[in-house]
Symmetry: C2
Subunit: 266 residues, 2 copies
Amino acid sequence: MRTGVKSIRALARGLEVFKAVVKRRDASLQQLYEDTGLAKPTLLRMLKTLEEGGLARRSLGDNRYRVSSGARLFFLPPSDADLIAERAAPLMDALCREVLWPSDLGVYSDGAIQIIESSRYQTPFPVNRHLMGYTVHVLMSAMGRAHLAFSPPAVVREIIERLRQSDDPYDWGARDPAKIMRSLAAIRSAGYAVREPGYGGWVRPGQGDAIAVPVLQGRRVLACLSLSWPADAATVKQIVSRHLGQLKATAAEIAAKVAAERDVGS
Amino acid sequence: MRTGVKSIRALARGLEVFKAVVKRRDASLQQLYEDTGLAKPTLLRMLKTLEEGGLARRSLGDNRYRVSSGARLFFLPPSDADLIAERAAPLMDALCREVLWPSDLGVYSDGAIQIIESSRYQTPFPVNRHLMGYTVHVLMSAMGRAHLAFSPPAVVREIIERLRQSDDPYDWGARDPAKIMRSLAAIRSAGYAVREPGYGGWVRPGQGDAIAVPVLQGRRVLACLSLSWPADAATVKQIVSRHLGQLKATAAEIAAKVAAERDVGS
DNA sequence: TGCCGTCGTTTCACCTGGTGTAACCTCATC
DNA sequence: GATGAGGTTACACCAGGTGAAACGACGGCA
């Protein structure tokens, strides 16, 4: 993105003040003055603005500033997927710079894999963009197969059971569990998943190909990270030998970042 | 307070942008442009700033802005007391302007009444300030007695039981429940509580006096609202005849505001 | 009661920094 | 490859953000 946009000092400082109020649950002007180093008139104006914006309030009784309870309305608790996507984004960006091919991040949700982040914008190659929020099929896509292969048996059973009831032809593979189990074993020993041959028509200017690895937290698959490229540019073997290591490393970094975040939250 | 402080436009607009992003869970620049009416370069700069401040992020995959999950760190869930205090403050301010004597707002917590808001700053008379956060005794203070008198019997029993185990001499009245019950009945029929004679030494330049009424939500006492004045300025009878109506009306308004807020939250 | 120190508020003049128009670039669609 | 929509950059104007300094309110102390 290489954005040369300048930021707005007045706003940045206002946010600093807000954070300072949050940090102390209540704060006097003097304390904020000491904490932030801003001039008192400046603080007064900013706190007035925060107050009018519904983020802070000033108590009558002690003239101290507090976080407005109305502020809770602005902060709907973020989903796990949001958190993972946010931690993953810079790492995926870095990966894309090294590898040049784009990668996607997906989570299992409701019988499908949902794309929650993607670096397709970052690559100069004509792969399909507009993928965010779309879903791909568990049994057909590289990410779905990686998710299954590295999930505990109980989770796998549950997902398969769910897919048996699906009307979608792409999910009908769930009716032959034995076959699925064989592929999953192969994926586990290889360390990565490819998509079911013939699936993935969504890369338009020629067939695309993809591999996927899991983002693991203990035994749980948090998400899956894929790498895509036009099929005519390289074979799976070539890509694996060149980039599988980087892909796995990125997945591990994502897991580590999310884990670090979890600790803070508790 | 009558504050002549000016607010900061850049900050106010930045908060608007943030709210706009919150409103749509994710938003393109174009959408924010339409929603806020701000120029796009302005939006870019503000969003950049929000991003750096950890409140927003821009997804790689679709270039859309979302609320950062890091914003969660700023958000400590506000307590009920905070919410009540915030709703009550402007009403207490108004009351104080009419009546000229200050009022306090308290909630029962852990065997005592905690002062969570106060309009003592607003009154020109030399009553004790610095009350926020202090606690007063349930059986002795006007607010504590109002709390008990208008609470359901089960709650009253629980509180009395708690106070029996207190070391504080001011709580020893709990050892004669029958006497307490008689006072509570009297308070209920009068519609307001006064403090136990002799209690309330904390109004310094001469004894102070106070009456208190409950802020009711259904059968629950959310908080208690008191009105204080120097004992030599007026008798309880005079104050009751002049101001009890206003005090009760204010308590009812507080209850209504909090109830309205609750509905939004659900 | 008067003095003093602390903390909050107001004033005001400087000039930085926020602002929007206009031009430009990128990408998707047909 | 033309068209249009959405996103970004450049630039020049001047509103508006800024902090020093003065002022005011309050509490503590003796």
